[in-house]
Symmetry: C2
Subunit: 446 residues, 2 copies
């Protein structure tokens, strides 16, 4: 009988006892596939997905010469390919291998959760496969010695679940057994949920993403709209959300423009899990260009353009870069207008030259990657682009904002992307309503 199946990823050369303990605790209701991603291959009957050094097809003459036939008839190369690599190259290469294998298993509907356990090296490899091999929403749980610190490089914009191992993932002690048992049963529960979900699904979309509910959008076929928000644009987003939900029957996903948030939205767009976007708060671009702490990387604004989905883009909070306490602000910003949001968050006001660069970044991304420029609306609230960019507030600077606006207009000339100037400020409820209606008009005709 078909059962929920957990893909268990581990470096079998160093963690085999812990992996086997985990398998031994698995209830009959659930299957486990063990994938070996160690540096050197391990032979064990419970390893379902063998190390690539044991399975890679080798057809050239040169490689043939490096093979020998083992007693049990398996072909093993004399020079272990991965073993001879430098550590970082090994991690990179085996991560790619694990990602491909994981993606294949996922697309074939053969797995319902991913579980892994490891130290620094194992966490790197397994979370790469979790991030790149399966979409957001698919269960993924990592037991790690590295889970009580800065975990952003492991998680990025995904829903990887991290469990701190407390003790070293080595040896069969009682604490580790309890932690591994909890992790296994967590994965068993999640796999059951995913198994039921996959069975209930009517179909898959073209890319095999499980995000679409029967390929028909969100709950009951609703259009799924991503909206980017920041504290200083929250009043606008509240109105947009409410209007899109009430007037257009949309399902709204709000993403905080914190770096991870913008990346998460772009990932969900790529995965086909979001149908349209109100990219109101593009301030992660400022952090990317000014060295702030909330950058979403250099690929921001590409996903929706490439996907050709309807989007309204604006320049919310595009006058501010985010830093930590004042002492962490780079010396090059000395003398700038600062805004101390709280003891750990300080904002730097962008100047005219920076605003020009911000405008160019946004315009260039849209112009370069838009496959459907007719579905992109750029809207510029000339009355102010954040809560602190209005008369009487410290970041209010219409002259610098004008550089931002006019540069965008200039750079997008002839692109086929429509641009609107709106004299109201971004948090004016009527501005927000007009933005919602702009997108609403596009999604109702989808």
């Amino acid at each position: 009988m078909e059962k929920p199946t957990i893909l268990l990823i581990g470096t079998c050369d160093t963690k085999l006892p812990e992996l086997l303990y985990t398998i031994s605790q698995c209830p009959d209701s659930t299957n486990i596939l063990l994938m070996d991603v160690g540096r050197t291959p391990t032979l064990h009957p419970l390893i379902s997905i063998q190390h690539p050094d044991l399975t890679t097809t080798t057809t050239t003459k040169e490689n043939k010469e490096n093979e020998e036939t083992k007693n049990n008839g398996e072909v093993i190369r004399k020079e272990e390919e991965y073993k001879s690599l430098p550590r970082t190259t090994y991690i990179q290469k085996i991560s790619n291998h694990a990602t491909t294998t994981t993606a294949d298993l996922y697309k074939a509907g053969r797995i319902h959760a991913i579980l892994s356990l490891g130290g620094s090296c194992g966490t790197n490899i397994a979370t790469a496969a979790m991030r790149q091999g399966v979409p957001v929403g698919f269960p993924k749980l990592m037991v790690s010695t590295m889970a009580s610190g800065d975990v952003s490089s492991y998680i990025e914009e995904t829903d990887i679940t991290l469990m701190y191992s407390v003790v070293d993932v080595a040896g069969g002690n009682w604490i580790l057994k309890r932690v591994l048992g909890n992790a296994l049963f967590g994965a068993v529960g999640m796999a059951l949920r995913e198994f039921t979900f996959q069975k209930d699904r009517i179909g898959r979309d073209v890319e095999g993403s499980v995000g679409k509910n029967g390929g028909d959008g969100g709950d009951g076929g609703k259009k799924r709209v991503g909206v980017t928000m920041f504290g200083v644009t929250t009043p606008c987003v509240d109105v947009i959300r409410e209007r899109l939900e009430r007037e257009y029957g949309a399902e709204v996903y709000v993403f905080h423009a914190t770096g991870a948030g913008g990346k998460a939205m772009e990932r969900l767009v790529r995965e086909g899990q979001i149908d349209a976007v109100v990219d109101l708060t593009t301030s992660e671009v400022v952090d990317e260009l000014m060295g702030g702490v909330l950058s979403a990387g250099p690929a921001r604004l590409e996903a929706a353009a490439k996907k050709g989905i309807p989007q309204v883009v604006s320049v919310g909070a595009c006058e501010m870069a985010n830093f930590g306490p004042p002492s962490t602000i780079p010396p090059r910003y000395e003398g700038r207008v600062l805004y101390e949001h709280n003891p750990t968050v300080t904002l730097v006001r962008a100047n005219a030259e920076e605003s020009r660069q911000i405008a160019r970044f946004i315009a260039e991304k849209l112009r370069t990657f838009a496959v459907r420029p007719d579905l992109i609306r750029l809207v510029l609230p000339t009355g102010g682009i954040s809560m602190v960019d209005v008369p009487g507030q410290s970041f209010y600077d219409p002259e610098v904002d004008e550089v931002l606006f006019s540069t965008i207009e200039k750079e997008l000339q002839g692109s086929g992307i429509s641009i609107t100037r709106d004299p109201r400020h971004i948090n004016d409820p009527d501005f927000a309503t007009s933005v919602a209606d702009m997108l609403g008009g596009m999604i109702t005709s989808m």
Copy 2:
């Protein structure tokens, strides 16, 4: 019939729809108790553990005057106590309340997992209850908008499982539903494991900790020994572990001296989950005193002394403070001997004055908190205290080490704690064997 029960902690004033959605997905096999930790109380039939403002007994006359009887007969105070508090005070106070309630439920055997979902505020409150209300090993899962960054303040030295929500925890969108569904089923699985575990247990130890297997130590009544390790003391720890396991039938728990590691060991000692300690690598003290990045806080070395369990203490890696890249080393250490372990880890060699302070810290903790000084053995490997503190290595400095050794000896005079000088260096296998035997002798007579 008795069922596995999940304690669901949430701020019902802001997250009620998401909490109710989670409850609605729960399979019949499992119960959910919903605890309200919001700023303002919420009345809802599915809230099992009401907000303290609704339930706090008020007996003084002054308080009586602030009460009114509601239509449904419930007594509610006119001035909501928590609502009127500043945000940070509210978080602190409600966290304490949630911790106490959680601990009571746990001790009564009424819960088998804790689940929570929230933003920054909710994550603060719920993880405090998870850290302080239940021991390591008890399942705890937090869905949080804050889970893709530095999570150390939420996790500390515990096995809290964190799931990044990807989208804002608000609204009923498809992604959030998948994330919450996965989290719920993860908790369902873990609660089943814990439920079975609690049923199988013969008894509890005095404090109600579930860590002890029938109150008799580790698997099969083995003595559970914590050992602190660092890269530069690994050869020593490998020998100690192997010898304790083979010759003394101990179950060994290795903790990396990374701050979280030392804290984890001390917590498990407090919880009665560790029976004896080889605190070989006390270098977290150096980071605490010199401002390094791997401090375990000012309470390091207290737990085992207070608990009166057998321990061998040494000064492994007590000549080095850990920092990030060279640029992050405080200017006061300019001109010091540095050791670049890798691009992100740089070590600073302690000088004589710092070594004196390190020695005083260790001695003072043991002297002040030892309830059984006769069960403490301090051992000083005068041949060198780490892999890089041996002749020919850059941190080798016998004169400075002598300050460390002699200060400890002086400060512990008359304490009843035995001190041994051993001329070998710390990674000498014979030194390691003698350390293992020193502890082994104490635990066999327990």
